[in-house]
């Protein structure tokens, strides 16, 4: 949805909206010029609460009204299911504005190359799409623009939208000169996209034997001043709000709302962590009401491969949630949770919590395709090209590994050319935990194309088309002939003028979106379970997390080190979301503009993390692999909340669970006063 100006003209909708662009020879001159700009603002009443923004008398952020997107979905017979239920649990849950806080802020350079094209080198997640955005905004043909995305110092979805790219290109277009734009930390915090703050109301019905019967859900996501990727984020919220369970009846009303808050868009989990916080709290409360083990209850309801899910979609990909739950149940942290543990002080309480998560990877029912190029060199090396971006997740290494595996060459012989619109074909966006899947599959197609090219070669040389080509450590084996080393193959292809390069294109299988949605359902899902141990200080509200177990349906793990690193990082980011990342906003102004007021977990806050892959086999994935980039974060916050409930008997409903919020919750529940009265736990 293109509702966001590159530079505002007569209306500014949030504090990060750009109104002018200054280019100067030095930072000091630029700073002085900015000081001299006079903008006359006529203050409008701020719209800051998404619930109030939906009321008809609210001031409007955009002409068309504050409800950016609304959809209502009904499946099964919700009323009848509630009427037949033995247990009904109801709650309102809120989650906060999480900031990506990547190490490298939005940054880039631009210049004119020798052919007069504008080259933009900037942090991003999709060079081809960024190029299209620049071309559209500046009304230039895409061929006049080249976008290169070098190694990016973290993105987490925060570079899925354009940031500095158009501004850089604009300066170079206007001046013909090179430009550089690096946002300061404060500028990044204020102007960058965020995770959608959410208000979620949920009513969930279950039977006495623990079957989840129906879910009634209202989802309100605050997208801030502009839609950005909000409409798609809302779809992901809808798709995952029932958790990885067989629930036949659901009523879902979802709203994406404009406010004058900061723009919300993609952030690892893409709308799923908020609804899963709500749902997994609900499921835990149901288990407690029924006196059931929370993992058992989840296992009873866990969706299996081949099941029809709530939207009428059949789960055809690998579905490992049941196995994940079983692995979590067997883990010592869970098995021994009833064993008394000596705590250092009488005001500490220990608890163990569990939560499950799911999210589709790839972009669901939207058209999704990607291409990868493959070229053989006479020296025996192989060059793989694709526009996937390296945002710290290790995709370049994984793609090199896949190519090495497919062609049976040592990985050192594979060179990867990535994320350059001039040199790498469009492998689409690096988001939604999909590049190993997408690029890996495109690479498989490229290797198939290479086999065909080899057949062309032999046909050209001998007049007879061979019937089979396979790749071995010694080289390509054509029919049953001697293996031909890849370098020799490259020379012979060159000699026959056939070209040494091929392109493989993979189109992600998809189904038609269900009415009222954009991209539901996905065909491929990630699943995971988090078990968290917490220690709560009743006298301060501080929650520490000594240990987390993250069980992940990983498909087949391509690179164990990258896999573990991804999951550990996601757990820690989830812990930040759960406990401390608290963007304080007043009248649309961000009060926490730096990393001393907006706190993210430090090494001292990071728990011991056991990452346990449950290796299912994804038939559609390369070598059985599936996406894993986001799965680790999905169920961290509800697992921690459920652990707090286990420790203290209170029910957290609001993320982040900061010490102050937890303290008041404990105080209201009488836990603090009970301790002060000296009632328990004294040694």
């Amino acid at each position: 949805m293109k509702d966001r100006p590159v530079l505002c003209d007569d209306k500014v909708r949030y504090i990060g909206d750009p109104v002018a662009l200054v280019a100067a020879e030095t930072r000091e001159a630029a700073s002085e010029a900015v000081r001299l700009i006079d903008v006359e603002y006529e203050p409008l009443p701020p719209v800051t609460d998404p619930v109030r923004a939906m009321m008809p008398d609210s001031p409007k952020v955009h002409e068309g009204g504050n409800v950016c997107r609304q959809t209502s979905l009904r499946f099964g017979d919700v009323e009848a299911a509630f009427a037949a239920a033995d247990v009904v649990v109801e709650g309102t849950y809120t989650t906060g504005t999480q900031i990506h806080a990547f190490l490298e802020t939005e940054a880039g350079i631009s210049y004119l190359d020798e052919q007069g094209r504008i080259v933009v080198v900037a942090g991003g997640q999709s060079p081809h799409r960024d190029r299209a955005e620049i071309a559209h905004a500046l009304d230039l043909p895409p061929e006049r623009i080249r976008v290169i995305t070098p190694y990016v110092g973290g993105a987490f979805g925060g570079k899925d939208d354009v940031s500095v790219q158009i501004h850089l290109a604009l300066v170079t277009m206007k001046t013909g000169r090179a430009a550089r734009l690096v946002l300061s930390r404060e500028e990044s915090m204020v102007s960058g996209t965020k995770r959608h703050p959410a208000v979620i109301r949920m009513r969930t019905a279950a039977s006495r034997d623990g079957r989840l019967l129906a879910n009634e859900v209202e989802i309100i996501y605050d997208t801030g001043a502009y839609a950005a990727l909000g409409p798609a984020v809302l779809d992901v919220a809808i798709e995952n709000c029932n958790g990885p369970y067989r629930i036949a009846n659901a009523k879902i009303d979802a709203y994406l709302v404009y406010t004058n808050n900061m723009v919300a868009s993609a952030f690892r989990g893409f709308g799923a962590p908020q609804v899963l916080f709500a749902m997994e709290r609900q499921v835990d409360r149901i288990a407690r009401k029924l006196g059931m083990d929370p993992i058992e209850l989840r296992m009873i309801n866990a969706v299996r491969k081949g099941d029809v899910y709530v939207f009428g979609n059949r789960m055809e990909g690998s579905v490992g949630i049941y196995d994940c739950l079983r692995a979590a149940r067997e883990h010592p942290l869970w098995r021994e949770r009833g064993r008394p543990v000596e705590l250092e002080y009488p005001w500490l309480r220990r608890g163990i919590g569990v939560a499950a998560g799911m999210k589709g990877y790839t972009i669901g029912a939207l058209p999704d395709r990607g291409s990868v190029s493959l070229e053989l060199n006479p020296d025996g090396t192989v060059v793989v090209g694709g526009s996937f971006t390296e945002i710290g997740q290790g995709v370049v290494e994984s793609v090199a590994q896949l190519a090495a595996e497919l062609l049976r060459v040592p990985v050192e012989r594979v060179r990867v050319l990535f994320a350059d619109t001039e040199r790498s074909p469009d492998t689409s966006v690096t988001s939604a935990s999909r590049q190993v899947f997408l690029a890996g599959n495109a690479l498989r197609r490229a290797v198939e194309a290479l086999a065909e090219r080899v057949k062309d070669l032999f046909e050209a040389e001998t007049g007879k088309r061979p019937s089979s080509v396979s790749f071995t450590e010694e080289g390509a084996v054509v029919d049953s002939g001697r293996p031909v080393p890849l370098g020799e193959l490259a020379e012979r292809l060159e000699a026959k003028g056939l070209g040494r390069g091929v392109v493989g294109t993979y189109e992600v299988p998809k189904v038609e979106p269900i009415p009222g949605t954009l991209e539901i359902p996905h065909l491929f899902f990630m699943f995971g379970v988090t078990v968290a141990e917490v220690v709560v200080n009743v006298l301060t509200g501080s929650v520490t997390v000594p240990r987390v177990v993250s069980v992940v349906d990983a498909g087949r793990v391509i690179n164990p080190l990258n896999f573990t690193g991804q999951i550990e990082g996601a757990v820690v980011q989830g812990l930040g979301f759960a406990l401390m990342e608290d963007a304080k906003i007043a009248d649309g102004y961000l009060l926490t503009r730096d990393l001393s007021t907006y706190l993210i977990p430090s090494s001292k806050d990071s728990p011991r993390i056991d990452v346990i892959p449950v290796e299912t086999f994804e038939e559609e994935g390369p070598f059985g692999a599936k996406g894993i980039g986001e799965v680790g974060i999905l169920s961290v916050a509800p697992a921690i909340a459920n652990a707090i409930a286990d420790a203290c008997g209170v029910e957290p409903t609001s993320v982040p669970m900061t010490p102050e919020k937890v303290y008041w919750l404990l105080k209201e529940a009488g836990v603090v006063d009970k301790l002060k009265a000296g009632g328990e736990g004294h040694g």
Binding site: R27, S596, D605
Partner: protein, 291 residues
Amino acid sequence: MEVLLHDVDVLVPRDLDEALRVLAERRGIKVLAGGTDLLVQMRSGAVQKSDLLDVSGLWELKYVRHEDETIAIGALTTFSEIASSEVIRRHAPVLAEAAETVGSVQIMNKGTIGGNVVNASPAADSLPALYVHDAELKLASLKGTRTVGITEFYRGYKRLDMRPDELLVEVRLRAEKGGEVGHFFKHGLRQGDAISVVNGAVLLDLEGDLVRGAAIALGAVAPTVVRAHEAERALKGRRLREDVMWEAARAVLRSISPIDDVRGSAAYRRELSVNYVFMTLWRIAREVGVL
């Protein structure tokens, strides 16, 4: 918007005398020690940009000395040096504990005790320890040297008994006596380095479970660090039991006047002040084996 500091003059004195001469002659110049507060504040515009006198190279102001009953700490001693000083760990362990939690290793390596004192943040982590140790501050200028008690030094929020031509050169503490035992406490919003929402120090003089003397100081709950005299009185002459601890802890409310800010509400700070003083008293009681 970020204030650029490219046009700031930085003067580097050869020795203390030259530093004092510059301070006497160049009005409006600010003293740069570790810079961990000052540069952040100048960059954000919270402190008016000015020329800087960089004293960080004055090695003669980096020391820890044990002089009879007193610990003398050169103003430019860093928190890393304080935290690892044998003298401080033995004779003022409350200060060593505070120094260890001031911030990240990088901040501890740069930040100095003199800077922490003069920056006068009510949340400064070293100050409660200095209050319970009855610290005195030695201020030097071309006119001579004078010594001010820490409670008299702070006259209000960031208002100091200090002339522009003066330089803080030494912090002097009373060494812990036999029978004294204490702790620093700090509430941050995460486990790693964080600015204190509430901090404080408790130093008790005990004979068995009998409290002969008590010093309690709290930070971030008033315009300056405060001594909780009511709480101290509630302890003196009493036996260290849980009911007495709670009574004393609740008495701190009469000494504090916290405000709401981005890190926490006033109401939460009041609760924390009471609870932390209790927790600290309880820890001390357990450590000395009277609980």
